[in-house]
């Protein structure tokens, strides 16, 4: 097992190093100059050149790569070109919006998906199952940004209830903040819930084939009792895997939703930073997101290896 962990850890490190190089190279070839952007239509080239020196953009690529990596290792992500504050501070502030939004969306989607999946599976083939899975199919097919627009339309024009935009900040109060995140989280959650419900359903169906459920039923438990007492925990394993993947997907994929609802999250920061060529922010955020995915994958791999020793030999399929 230790050998396996070491092997995976090495490949994890190599992946991360390669990822930083890829990110750095992409950033290098992005056309457009942050200093020129800052100076706008009427700005003098002289001032832009001075700004470039001030931002450290005049140094060589290799030097900038190593100073970036070195900085990241010591927790110093550099200074944002446009905001002129430490990138780590920017990311920290935005994480306080994006992570709660993502967690909120995942909680909502789990709360919707698990009952739907279980009910659907336990009444397989019934009208209820058909309707629920039909709705789930539609849920999967709805682009979340369109759903968000429809939500705004329904709440504002039909119900006359206008959502407050933006984010008051956690210091304004927990519930106020939660309220501000509710509709965005719901917009993010629905398509994910639909996917999750489908996974949950097939997972439950699979578990119900297992011998221990048959045994439990033979002992006189009803199907529902057997499922709840013995099956649900096992059925959750694939669901948790999906949840892990969805977490990183939502964290990065909230860009559009954050824009629509004017939330100061990571996605909007990175989108805006790309447009303003605040590339030092872009590369740090992308690296962090990649790191998050790689770590989650690593942990999931370890868990699987614990459960199934054969995987330690053959690698993942």
């Amino acid at each position: 097992m230790i050998h396996y962990i070491l092997k995976r850890l090495t490949s994890l490190l190599i992946t991360l190093i390669v990822a930083t190089i890829v990110i750095f190279l992409i950033i290098e070839v992005v056309p457009g100059d942050p200093a020129a952007y800052m100076m706008g239509l009427s700005g003098s080239t002289e001032a832009a050149d001075a700004l470039r020196v001030e931002l450290g953009l005049d140094k060589g690529a290799l030097e900038r790569y190593f100073s970036w990596i070195g900085g990241m290792l010591s927790g110093d992500f550099g200074i944002s070109y446009t905001y002129r504050v430490p990138v780590s501070q920017l990311i920290g502030e935005r994480t306080l919006v994006s992570v709660p939004l993502t967690v909120y969306a995942l909680i909502l989607s789990t709360l919707i998906a698990i009952p739907v999946g279980v009910i659907s599976a336990s009444r397989r083939g019934s009208v209820v199952d058909t309707i629920l899975m039909g709705v789930a199919q539609i849920g999967v097919a709805i682009p979340n940004f369109w759903f968000a627009i429809l939500m705004v339309l329904v709440f504002s024009t039909s119900l006359g209830w206008f959502s407050a935009v933006g984010f008051p900040g956690w210091e304004a109060g927990f519930w106020v903040s939660i309220k501000a995140l509710t509709i965005p989280a719901f917009s993010l959650a629905l398509p994910q819930a639909a996917i999750l419900a489908r996974v949950m359903r097939s997972s439950v169906l699979e578990v119900m084939q297992e011998d221990y459920i048959r045994t439990a039923r033979a002992k006189g438990l009803s199907q529902r009792q057997a499922l709840i007492r013995h099956g649900l925990r096992n059925a959750m394993i694939p669901v948790l895997t999906i949840l892990g993947l969805q977490f990183s997907f939502l964290l990065a994929g909230g860009i559009i939703i954050e824009s629509i609802f004017s939330l100061p999250g990571l996605g909007r920061l990175v989108f805006q930073s790309i447009a303003q060529r605040d590339l030092i922010v872009v590369k740090s955020i992308v690296t962090l997101l990649v790191m998050a995915v790689v770590m989650i994958t690593f942990i999931v791999d370890l868990l699987y290896a614990l459960v199934d020793p054969r995987l330690r030999e053959g690698g993942r399929g």
């Binding site: 457009g32 700005g43 446009t82 705004v152 206008f162 935009v165 004017s262 100061p264 999250g265």
Partner: protein
Amino acid sequence: MKKIGFLLLFYLTSRAAAFAVILNVGLQLEPPNLDPTSGAAAAIDEVVYGNIFEGLVRIDKDGDVQPGLALFWEVSTDGRSYIFHLAEGVKFHDGSDFDAEDVKFSFNRARAKNSTNAKKYIFAPIVLIDILDPLTIMITLDHARPDFLFNIGLGDAVIVAPESAAGNAFNPVGTGPFRFKKWVRGDRVELIKNDDYWGLEPRLGGATFKFIPDPLSAYTAMMAGDIDTFPNYPAPENLFLFDRDPRFDVVVGLTAGETILATNNKRSPFDNILVRKAMAHAINRKEIINGAMFGNAAPIGTHFAPNHPDYVDLTGLYPFDLGKARALMKDAGYANGFEATLKLPPPTYARRTGELIAVELGRIGIKLKIENMEWAQWIDQVLRNRNFDLTVVSHVEPMDINIYANPNYYFGYDNADFQKIISDIDQSTDAAETSRLYKEAERKIAEDAVNGYLFQLGKFGVWKKEVKGMWANYPIRSNDLRDVYVEGAD
């Protein structure tokens, strides 16, 4: 020395006491930082100009020069030197005193070799800065510059203190009626009233500038009452909805932004004046203003603000006439038209106008390929490397017709006659003569059809009925809140 002398600040005793109203102001774009002396983003001025920072003079809501930190000034007869008499007892928000040293520091910083001031050219004519006494400063120019006073009223020339200048990007310290409280990046900037303000006491207790990039959110935020005033509402198509709602006032004004179909005069076939004239005849301003701006814009026939006294209406010079346009194309040798690209920056006005332009020029056989791009790409390709055929952009700098005198500017207009007119304006000290020269300049570029002159960008003010004193126009990009108050809150 001829004394012009302004004496103000005496009618102000009638003002009432402090009020605690915090005004919520909606802005579409968040400023990258809060230092107006470094970087050109209009969004910086929209928050800080006149509120946090002040200059020697101040541009008011009509675009006129008013006394600022300099209460009055004298100009020498040759127009070269200015003596500014500074206000007494002025303090920066950090408590440090303001005097002539700060003025000298600010101007020297802006014109230094390593300056990152986007409008460094404002300070280029300065030859000497002499401190006569702590409250009197003399500035000498290379020669008379009629636009100098206006220019030092811009956000790029505000007065900063040596102790705090370096931190202004994120912790701005000025002399204005409001002081910086906090900035929640991505969401809002909060200002509170400066209780030690040297001038007229502001009537608001403070202001929160909320940044709402998405027009959909802008609409719901206004309707929900979260925002008291949107000085420049991002979606003209929604204005009528506010207009018919009794809770709001809609005030459509003008910005200093001439929206043009910028044309690469150095590149074939646009170097051919017949082609440019054909294009001018093919452009249907009415269709563009109705289609792209939903009727909320003023047509222009040259590069000049239509609400300026020196504006000449040249929209009839090349009236919309497809027959004439096609004939000109034939004369130019392009009876079958040609293909070209149209590079469009991100603002909605540019994207919509561009789509319409492509259709309109298509009618005379010019097949345009639209390329949408971000500002960074646009600046790189169009502005810097002049790698473009056509683009749509709004030139938001006030009184910027002189850009046509720079043959290296991106649209590449190189005309000695025009350059002479502009250098005459630079030297002129006579107001009537300056006005005549401006009109000549306007006519010259319109006749040469340098660019397609489309419309003056509107300023779409939407605010609650109780909010009074907001600027109707944007002679410069500023939401100066010193005179703003909320009715019923007094």
